[in-house]
């Protein structure tokens, strides 16, 4: 990671990677969604609504992965003072918030025909909603701190404290057995039949690539803005 501490070196790598992530992400997510809509059979219990899984599961994973990224960047900033850590964390927040919102929306849309309700104060749903609000808080705090010329330490501490919510989301279906079903996909395998499951890795990888591209584009934008601000300050002082 420290090899990327030099912004010029980071930008040399980030420019081609952004393009590749966009191209691969668009191809895989479009292909996976098309396959999920047309090539898989309906589920014997859920019927056609099972197809919502191909957009809901990747967004749930990315909503949580975004905060893992913020927490990792916060540690990197507070412990090693990595110069790109705060920029990376700020760049991950809007992408994470977007995918948390997609997760909540698609879950609610799936819930209406399956559970008979748009919303229930269930452990998984509520902890995911808390994650979305944590993102909004982080974006507001990090932006305010940056505008005041801070190093981003307060936002980094907030990022670490907010990570407490991640195990709560993950284990919520075990701790509170309410409406949301238990884990269908784990390290030991899946309870979903392979005829239905196969497009899911495509959308998981595809949306992850798009998430990565959005984060890199925001990092490039912030590095360019920092460069302009520094130059303007020097010109103002001269």
């Amino acid at each position: 990671m420290h090899a990327l501490a030099n912004p010029a070196r980071f930008l040399r790598l980030a420019r081609p990677i952004t393009t590749w992530l966009l191209l691969i992400g668009l191809a895989l997510s479009t292909g996976g969604m098309a396959a999920g809509l047309t090539l898989t059979p309906p589920d014997y219990l859920q019927g056609e609504t099972v197809r919502i899984m191909y957009v809901h599961v990747p967004s749930a994973w990315l909503g949580m992965a975004g905060w893992v990224g913020i927490a990792a960047a916060s540690i990197s900033q507070l412990v090693w003072r990595h110069p790109l850590a705060a920029i990376g964390a700020r760049a991950a927040a809007p992408a994470g918030a977007t995918f948390a919102a997609i997760c909540l929306l698609t879950g609610s849309i799936w819930g209406r025909p399956t559970w008979g309700t748009w919303w229930e104060w269930d452990g998984r749903l509520t902890s995911m909603l808390v994650l979305f609000f944590l993102y909004l808080g982080y974006i507001a705090l990090a932006s305010a701190e940056r505008e005041r010329g801070g190093e981003g330490r307060i936002a980094a501490i907030y990022g670490l404290v907010g990570a407490v919510n991640l195990p709560i989301i993950h284990y919520s279906v075990l701790w509170w057995r309410t409406l949301h079903q238990g884990e269908s996909i784990g390290l030991s395998g899946s309870t979903i039949d392979s005829s239905i499951l196969w497009p899911l890795p495509l959308t998981m990888i595809g949306f992850t690539c798009l998430f990565g591209a959005a984060v890199l584009m925001r990092m490039r934008a912030e590095l360019a803005e920092t460069k302009v601000e520094a130059r303007m300050r020097r010109m103002g002082a001269a």
Binding site: L22, S29, M33, L37, G47, E48, T49, R51, I52, V55, H56, S59, P94, A95, T98, A101, I102, L105, T106, I109, W110, R112, P113, F207, L210, A213, A214, M217, R218, R220, A221, E222, A224, E225, K227, V228, R231, M232
Partner: protein, 42 residues
């Protein structure tokens, strides 16, 4: 209950929000990098 309006709405929300995120990130990057390049040329 016909499931297809729900499936369509879920895919529509996912595609629209992802596209909005990517377009916003791309536009802000292009604007910032163009401003930095313009300053370099001065």
């Amino acid at each position: 209950m016909n499931p297809w309006p729900f499936v369509t709405a879920a895919y529509g929300a996912a595609i629209l929000l992802t596209a909005a995120l990517l377009l916003w990130a791309f536009a802000s990057m292009r604007r910032a990098e163009a401003a930095a390049d313009a300053l370099n040329r001065k």
